[in-house]
């Protein structure tokens, strides 16, 4: 391999230029594509003390939901319906009717969830009994820890 001064310098410039480009390009690309590997840190929200909740009867829980929006934390009031048969296992429902997102309620007389908008009826397990909803009530992840009920609220997604 014979190499003269000119070509040696030329290659040296190319190699150094390549190193500098990579040195800046790799961090820059990582930074630019950051949203791709950004994990949304879902926080469990404390929804109350387990001992306070009725058994066998759905109840409504209200809580403050903190959402991260970039460098901001947005607080919003949110709610959910929950039901437990033993005080250990909780089923938590998204508070919006699966038809058009209206807030339904538990009717203590009829022992059913009723939605006022289009007369949808759901059972205590969230199954559709009557009306237009396309699917059963949505469940939210829930767990019990340290005597507290913890839930993960759903993202407010646009219906469409």
């Amino acid at each position: 391999m014979d190499i003269d001064r000119r070509n040696f310098l030329k290659q040296g410039i190319f190699i150094m230029g390549g190193l500098i480009t990579a040195g800046i390009g790799i961090p820059a690309t990582t930074y630019f594509l950051a949203p791709l590997w950004h994990k949304e840190e879902e926080d469990w929200i404390e929804a109350g003390t387990v001992a306070d909740f009725p058994i066998g009867e759905p109840f409504k829980i209200d809580f403050v939901q903190r959402k991260h929006d970039g460098w901001m934390t947005v607080e919003g009031r949110s709610s959910a319906w929950a039901v437990t048969s033993d005080g250990k296992q909780f089923t938590v429902f998204d508070p919006r009717c699966t038809h058009l997102g209206c807030p339904y309620r538990w009717d203590t007389e009829k022992k059913k969830f009723l939605c006022p908008c289009h007369n949808a009826v759901f059972s205590i397990t969230g199954e559709v009994l009557a009306g237009p909803p396309p699917r059963p009530l949505d469940h939210l992840p829930a767990k019990v820890a340290g005597g507290k009920l913890l839930i993960k609220p759903a993202e407010k997604k646009e219906e469409g």
Binding site: I24, P27, A28, Y31
Partner: protein
Amino acid sequence: MISRLINWLDERIEILNIKKTLFDRLIPKGVGWPYVLGSVSLFLFTLQVVTGILLAMNYSPSPEHAHASVAYIMQKIPMGKVVRGLHHWGASFMVVAVTLHLLRTFFYGAYKYPRELTWITGLFIWLLVLGFGFTGYLLPWDQKAYWATMVGTNIASQAPLLGPAIAKVLRGGEALGAVTLTRFYAFHVLLLPALIVLLLAVHLCLVVRLGISAPPEKEKKP
């Protein structure tokens, strides 16, 4: 593959001629390290543009969000520390490099005929670089930034006659606040870049057109 592309371009727009004009220039004897300062400045400028664009993607120029968004870049975004670090240090290096480049040009007498225009555009570029430094310094919106800008605008207000007016225009009002931040951001990312790109284009065209001045020599005794 690449040579075919180059040939394709060369047949149409004589790209090899352009390359020859830009890179295969004749250099006078005795040119050495002091002559790299212009290229160093240009490289640093490119670095500032790239890192600056990236920072602007996650920065919010308002009193409520500026500091928090910078913290977000530093703590939450992968490589955010690196990108901001490059911009931060690149800014200081740029002022140093452009100043040294200016001094080199002066002491080598390279500003003389026929290069007066290169010199004058260069001087204005130097002023713009200082402007970049001054306006960029406020953007993190921490104590240092705030008080440094307070001092800077106060110095401006000490100028006779026009001083108070200049300070008012810089601050966007009597006090240093939200409007100052948005103005400085506009200066830093819109106004100054537009001006410096324009002047740099002229400056570089002139350098290519006129070539590099030879280093000064001792007078030959007859």
